[in-house]
């Protein structure tokens, strides 16, 4: 394993295989918390942290499960670990960053059901990543999420003033906008790293 292979994973997770625009993981918070840039960035940062942590912990858990011959319990074990981690982050934020805690509100416990978090843990196993690769993939995947939600929130703030057909109000126009950003992200697919 070299630095270049790690860099390839990182670039892939942030740009070419962006969790939101290419893999459709984590759409619910992406659409739910993207009305204002501040909260969007807070959410992105929290998700990045949880994703990095979850990749690291789930890597160990998976080793234990495989060693015990319980590989099929993966999904159940992962989701429990993630739920515990999110609870931990919630307690930490409540005590140390109360403004962010109130801003994220109901979406904070919902990180548990953010498919990007469980997705990254499962993809790490599927791709046979080692410990460092898993953590890099988790953190950069989270950064990709942060980038996506930041861009989307910035566009969406302007969208408030857009004069669209009435039936497109709210979610539909947001989805079409997201589609157009995804189109822009497709431009990165030609990107080759060494």
């Amino acid at each position: 394993m070299t630095i270049t292979s790690l860099l390839a994973i990182a670039l892939g997770a942030i740009l070419t295989n962006n969790f939101i625009f290419a893999q459709f993981l984590g759409i619910c918070p992406f659409l739910g918390v993207s009305k204002k840039i501040d909260t969007a960035v807070g959410m992105g940062a929290a998700v990045t942290f949880v994703m990095g942590l979850a990749s690291a912990v789930c890597f160990g858990i998976n080793r234990l499960l495989v060693a015990a011959g319980l590989g099929y319990m993966q999904t159940v074990a992962f989701i429990l670990v993630i739920a515990a981690l999110v609870q931990f982050v919630e307690m930490f934020l409540k005590k140390n960053v109360p403004t962010l805690y109130t801003a994220l509100g109901v979406y904070l416990p919902l990180i548990t059901t953010n498919c990007a978090v469980l997705g990254v843990a499962l993809l790490n196993v599927q791709n046979d990543y080692n410990f460092i690769q898993s953590v890099v993939y988790g953190i950069t995947g989270g950064l990709g999420f942060l980038l996506a939600i930041f861009l989307f929130a910035a566009v969406r703030e302007q969208l408030e003033f857009a004069d669209n057909p009435k039936c497109f109000d709210g979610f539909p126009i947001a989805l079409v906008t997201a589609g157009l950003i995804a189109l822009a992200f497709m431009g990165f697919s030609g990107l080759k790293v060494w």
Binding site: L25, I79, L118, F171, G179
Partner: protein
């Protein structure tokens, strides 16, 4: 709460995807061919119904503070069962759905219905709710698949439908197509609901 009303809510007025906006990730990700849509839809119907039954049975035993964790464990158990069954009997579908089968655990439809319906209602109603909400989800998946496969690849169920000279709109099968297709579908739904609401209003006015 009668069955007919529940069916109408599941398919139309409270459709999980188009009105409640739940379970968007899988809706956009796997709807590139009708086979995928069917496989995913049927898996979700089975898991949603079973988990609704169990959660409704346990609703008086589960303490309120840890209910979400309990729901997730029940759901994850059923998802693992379905995943193993698919791997054994329908390996092709398992392969093409990939990571989205285990991700049914975090599909908000299932947790959402557990929290909003099954944890408050009796077993019979919860079972029906599971079946009808799952059906509503499946119908949306199939509509999306139909458009994306027909126009994006010119095929349906892997059979060439469009004439030879047809150039497929490849963008529909890409992620971009998923976003835009679902956006337009939700817009159509909002338009239809607004129209029927207006109709009812007019009727009431006339009645007065």
């Amino acid at each position: 709460m009668n069955a007919k009303k529940q069916l109408k809510e599941g398919l139309l007025t409270q459709n999980p995807v188009l009105v409640q906006l739940l379970g968007m990730c899988s809706t956009m990700a796997i709807t590139t061919s009708i086979m995928n849509g069917l496989g995913m839809g049927v898996s979700v119907i089975i898991i949603l119904t079973l988990s609704n039954i169990i959660i409704s049975l346990l609703r008086k035993i589960i303490p309120n503070e840890v209910r979400i964790a309990c729901f997730i464990v029940v759901i994850a158990g059923f998802v693992t069962c379905v995943q193993l069954l698919l791997k054994a009997f329908l390996p092709e579908i398992d392969k093409s759905l990939g990571v989205f089968i285990p991700l049914i655990v975090v599909n908000c439809i299932i947790l959402g219905r557990a929290e909003a319906f099954a944890s408050k209602n009796a077993v019979g109603a919860s079972t029906l709710d599971g079946i009808f909400q799952g059906l509503g989800y499946t119908v949306v998946l199939i509509i999306m698949c139909f458009f994306r496969e027909l126009f994006g690849a010119g095929k349906l169920l892997d059979i060439q439908i469009m004439p030879d000279g047809y150039t497929p709109i490849g963008i529909l099968t890409l992620p971009v197509g998923g976003f835009i297709c679902l956006g337009v579908l939700i817009a159509v739904m909002q338009w239809a609901l607004a129209k029927s609401a207006k109709k009812n209003e007019n009727k009431e006015k006339e009645a007065k």
